[in-house]
Amino acid sequence: MEHIEQVLVSGLFAGMVYGLISIGLSLIWGIMDMVNFAHSDFMMLAMYFTYLLFSKLGLDPLFSLPLVAAGMFCLGVLTYFLVIRHVIGGELVQQTLCTFGLVVLLQSVAQYLWTGNYQMINEPLVSGNIRIFAASLSKGQVVAGVASLFLAGAIWWVIQKTRIGWALMATAQNRYSAPLVGIKVDRMFALAWGIGLASVGAAGVFLANYYYIYPQVGATFQLLALVAVALGGFGSIPGAIVAGIAVGLIEALSGYLIEPAYKYLVVFSLYIVVVLVRPHGFFGTHS
């Protein structure tokens, strides 16, 4: 068991990033009752933006973070008004096909513009390794984990403590009475998409520091984020953060204890068990 610390520490930091990816998904789900299947494909887009800013303008991911996050926020608002708004109140299948359509669109555009080759950011400012207990981790991974946790916490704080955050919660809990106190539901939905894509965009920037970038990079993250949201409870931000970390740990542990090829089998089996036993997740209040 000499590598157990290594496994736990890398699982933990990966999980923190999963947490940040998951909160945007959870937020949109909680507020609009809608699953954004293209969530991680928007992250892929953010990874490419980060890569392009680095390779064309020499801007390190550390500095392109605010730029990419702001751009993704705008893209989220735009996506809401151009696409999503038109399927609100529609059938579930309409909404599902709509965001699936975005998956195909985003991946195809990426393939067309940047080819299917794997890209990587060479020697960003944050590079090299660091020792944590007996584990050795890339600095990029550590920065990604810590910054993700911080950002996720900040978003939670905004929702819990600010006037606009309360308006978001109110919209999530009763979208019919929110307008009766003067809340514009349409704007809240747009805001949820903005925050959702900005947060997953930030995760994309962090990942770009040490992860390969290619058009289908979102797929695995999307599934893991869905598992985290289901575990944490639909719409629960702290739930998504904790569950994201749990998924990271389970993934790493099962890869180590059983067989790397089976790590997702364990994660997704757990997902099925939770859906059967506790459909609202562990922090969920949604009915």
Binding site: W166, A167, M169, N174, Y176, P179, L180, V181, V185
Partner: protein, 260 residues
């Protein structure tokens, strides 16, 4: 501005009815409204003056709730006009009606934010007010009106009893500092002694603060007795109007609602 309009209209020698149209707080003219294909309201005309207490009674399905929704803008009328202080408000975003006209709609079934605390629900009632101090003062006022809410301020709104939730919904509506308070069946699912207390409070708000009240009820005894004026609705139309106490004695109401 409103006064000028009235004077200009006077100068132009408009008929008497047009003058009153301009000075009403709320006025509906031949409003027809409903949902996807079905007409619920047909040609409804009514008005509420400043500081007035107006009741609308009618049986289940008469269109009372649709009427309030049409005023607050959550349902869009097919035809007719809704004016608040002389300005047309049909087609406005409901959130703008709240913000600009300060019409508070306390909906049927209360529709609180169930997993937020009573305090959060109340503060959201003043969502359009940005001045923090003003919000706190208003909060103190509504908590004085409903002391029970002060005791429960940290409790999730959805876990309270029906009566407490109704108080919370009315208090949330009052946080807006409304010029018109519309209530949809506040007695529904509330135990009788609390209903009486809620009505007392409504009367107090109307008399002390001068807030106009438009009350929709199935329970005709209380609501007609309290009202300055009242309307009786039947299958989407206004069947009668008059002073509340008179209507309670009228043939129509006695036949239709008291089974006499």
């Amino acid at each position: 501005m409103k006064k000028n309009e009235t004077e200009a209209a006077k100068a132009a020698n408009y008929p008497e009815e047009d003058l009153s149209r301009l000075s009403r707080l709320l006025r509906l003219e031949k409003v027809s409204s409903g949902y996807e294909g079905t007409n619920v309201l047909s040609d409804v005309s009514l008005y509420v003056d400043k500081g007035e207490f107006v009741s609308i009674v009618g049986s289940n399905g008469a269109g009372k709730s649709t009427l309030l929704r049409t005023i607050s803008g959550t349902v869009r009328p097919r035809s007719g006009e809704v004016r608040f202080e002389g300005r047309p408000i049909v087609g406005r975003d409901p959130a703008d009606v709240v913000r600009e006209c300060r019409i508070s709609h306390v909906p049927e079934g209360r529709l609180l934010f169930p997993r937020m605390t009573v305090y959060q629900n109340l503060m959201l009632g003043a969502f359009t007010t940005r001045n923090k101090k003003r919000k706190e003062e208003r909060l103190a006022y509504v908590m004085e009106l409903f002391p029970r809410l002060a005791e429960r301020s940290r409790q999730s709104a959805g876990t309270m009893s029906g009566g407490e939730q109704q108080m919370c919904a009315i208090a949330r509506g009052l946080m807006l500092e409304p010029r018109l308070l519309m209530l949809d069946e506040p007695s529904l699912g509330v135990q009788p002694n609390i209903v009486a207390r809620i009505y007392e409070t409504l009367e107090k708000i109307n008399k002390q603060e001068g807030i106009a009240v438009l009350l929709v009820e199935q329970d005709i005894h209380h609501s007609l007795r309290m009202a300055d004026r009242a309307y009786v609705m039947q299958t989407g139309r206004i069947a009668a109007e008059g002073r509340g106490a008179e209507l309670l004695e009228s043939e129509l109401v006695r036949k239709a609602y008291l089974g006499l």
